[in-house]
Amino acid sequence: MNNNRHILSLLLENEAGALSRVAGLFSARAYNIESLTVAPTEDPTMSRMTIVTSGSEDVIEQITKQLNKLIEVVKVFDLNEGRHIERELMLVKVRAEGKDREEIKRTADIFRGRIIDVTDRIYTIELTGTHDKLDAFLEALGSTQILETVRTGASGIGRGEWILRV
């Protein structure tokens, strides 16, 4: 089966319980969920959620329909249906000692990462990009000892005039 990765964008009522309805739907129907992010929008009564999932076209169609059926969900868009931008934020804490310090800094620069916290033995790097770019950065760190990573999961938005609102 072609298990394509899809980014779904949702507008939903900013109400207690809306998140658990979405999360419950995914577990109850055994849909994949790679990441989920949610926060209020400029209109505080509404939240915007980005869900990264994967499945065959049929499964994705069902996921979209089932999400639409949830009473608190206002709109669902499959960003894969058009041109879109995806960003994820990652914080990485690495062991940075001796000659490694220069090398790590250079790698971070190449990926347009920023070192946002420093001790004599540690760097904490902030990096934004697509899922793939963040993965690539972790690979590029090579033998560097990664102490901790935190990732937000992807947020997505359509390009240009493709606007998701009510």
């Binding site: 658990s20 309805r21 059926k69």
Partner: protein
């Protein structure tokens, strides 16, 4: 006007035209019960178990088409209600459940009789609400009725903390509500309907497959008109029985696991299939791969987009209110210059009649020694002139009722098709009887199922409900035994029930009339006597053939045409 949350609740129910609520009191709903005491618009029916309250509200809704209402207390009240709520959810029954909750300040502190009601019920309701502010109570109840009864219907729960039911607020019941996140679709797409009509007229071997959605959408007259206009064969799902008259020659019987030979073969071999308010579930089409092997074009009408192309890919999806869609279809058909292909149709009917000739529902009717369960249902149909409300429990008796009671009208066949809940039969019959006090209501059950809500015999006594209970007593968990015989080497693991009660005495101890019937020739006289007792609950305990099985049967995982027609196929 300032009213308490409890008073507001009752006012809202009255405003919605609710005549009965089925409930059971407890600490968290005491203010609401006090408000019930102080008014006379809404009548409260005291059941004996919360599961029964919800089933009764459910039966009321299925028979009348109006939303059922149940009221339960927090904690165990809610957990007892969950089976009933899930039963209604799987069959898309419009219902509002009001539950008490611990006071808002105690929520989350593991208070006495606290459970996360919204969390526990979330997967088995259409929607639920926790009301934290009495000022929002009236609007929330309005929304609950709106959501429960529109679109694809379903149960909606409103959880009311005790302090909210006590606090005062200005009462103002909204005339209507709109929710930006909830806009059920109504009209079907005219272009899609046009394609569907074209496809239907091109069919050589057409088939119309109608389900519970037709009943929920009150579209039986339109469906009947469509089927007759086209002259095509029609089958019903278990949930759809009665949406097309069973005594009509165009009806080929129920389809699916225990469907007729002719219905299943027509379903498999048709070239154009019109599915109306049905969802191709596993009990209906059997193994989906086997179903796909025969190519056919499919038109699917449903109000819920997620029901379409879920298990079976369709060619023409039509999302919309069934009544609107069928009306438009009939209009377009009338205006169309083409007519159904008469020679092809004649050949198709000839084929179907050959399949019919197998007489797949035949059984040993001449037996004078032992009661055949099928004959009890056939007698029931005769004695009630085919015009009773029949509720059922779950098991073999349910399938026999579905196969042998010819339902000619919608909303007469009340059963738990989706969840398959044993215990549903008696309490749902109570709800039906409240909705139609002057009509005949019978509950077809088995000795195992009836014991799951037997306590409701007491409710029947309190409210003088003249329900007739038809117990097909085979001393077995019959449907379980049947599967064990077919798929588990005939090992009867825990499917025999020892120590059954004397149901006649049991009925009598509750203040009812009880009959035990052992011989085939006594079936009819006993029934006539029972149904003549217009004001009494009568428990009829039929001692039936212990070894009888339900046929035809499509064994689990098999294709629709891989049917066992009788014990000789085993």
């Amino acid at each position: 006007m300032q009213l308490s949350g409890a008073e507001i609740t009752l006012r809202c129910l009255a405003e919605e035209g609710v005549d009965y609520i089925f409930g059971y009191p407890g600490g968290a709903v005491l203010y609401i019960y006090d408000a019930i005491f102080n008014q006379d618009k809404v009548k409260h029916i005291l059941v004996r178990h919360e599961q029964a309250a919800v089933h009764a509200a459910d039966g009321y809704a299925r028979a009348s088409g109006r939303p059922g209402v149940a009221l339960v207390t927090s904690g165990p009240g809610v957990t007892n209600a969950v089976t009933g709520i899930a039963t209604a959810f799987l069959d898309s029954i419009p219902m509002v459940i009001i539950s008490g909750q611990v006071p808002t300040r105690a929520i989350g502190l593991d208070a006495f009789q606290e459970v996360d009601t919204v969390g526990i019920t979330r997967p088995c309701v259409k929607h639920n609400f926790l009301v934290k502010d009495v000022a929002e109570l009236a609007t929330t109840i309005k929304k609950a009725f709106y959501v429960a009864t529109t679109g694809r219907p379903g149960p909606v729960l409103v959880d009311i903390p005790k302090d909210v039911s006590q606090q005062l607020a200005e009462y103002d019941y909204p005339k209507s509500v709109s929710m930006r996140s909830y806009n059920p679709v109504l009209k079907g797409h005219a272009g899609q309907i046009k394609k569907a009509v074209q496809m239907l007229l091109e069919a050589k071997r057409p088939m119309i497959y109608a389900g519970g959605g037709v009943i929920l959408g009150d579209a039986s007259p339109l469906l009947t008109k469509l089927v007759r206009t086209l002259g095509y064969p029609c089958t019903n799902t278990l949930m759809g029985l009665g949406c097309y008259p069973a005594s009509d020659p165009q009806f080929v019987g129920m389809l699916g696991m225990h469907g007729t030979y002719e219905a299943n073969l027509s379903m498999q071999n048709c070239d154009v299939l019109l599915a109306v308010g049905a969802r191709f579930d596993d009990r209906v089409i059997g193994n989906p791969e086997h179903f796909f092997q025969a190519g056919r074009r499919i038109i699917h009408i449903d109000i819920d987009p997620s029901s379409i192309s879920k298990r079976v890919k369709v060619d023409v999806p039509i999302v919309g209110n069934i009544t609107d869609v069928l009306e438009e279809m009939l209009r377009q058909l009338a205006a169309h210059e083409a007519k159904p292909d008469a020679p092809a149709l004649a050949a198709w009917w000839k084929q179907i009649d050959e399949w019919r000739g197998r007489d797949c529902l035949r059984y040993d009717r001449s037996n004078t020694e032992i009661i055949k369960p099928q004959s009890v249902i056939e007698q029931l149909w005769r004695v009630t002139d085919g015009d009773a409300y029949i509720t059922s429990d779950v098991g073999q008796h349910q399938m026999w009722a579905a196969q042998y009671y010819k339902f000619d009208k919608p909303r007469r066949w009340i059963n738990s098709g989706g969840l398959g809940t044993m215990g549903f039969g008696l309490p749902s019959a109570m709800g039906v009887q409240f909705a139609f006090p002057d009509d005949t209501v019978a509950c077809v059950t088995g000795e195992a199922s009836i014991q799951m809500c037997i306590q409701e015999l007491s409710t029947c006594k309190q409210y003088h409900l003249p329900i007739k209970i038809i117990n097909l007593n085979n001393r077995y968990l019959g449907m379980v035994r049947q599967w064990q015989e077919l798929q588990h080497g005939n090992r009867h693991s825990e499917s025999y029930m020892e120590a059954l009660p004397d149901f006649v005495k049991l009925a009598e101890s509750y203040g009812h009339v009880g009959f035990r019937i052992d011989r085939p020739q006594d079936i009819e006289p006993a029934m006539r006597e029972a149904f003549a007792l217009k004001d009494r609950t009568v428990f009829m305990d039929f001692q039936t053939d212990q070894s009888e099985n339900v046929f035809p049967m499509v064994p689990g995982g098999k294709g629709l045409t891989e049917m066992l027609l009788g014990s000789e196929d085993l």
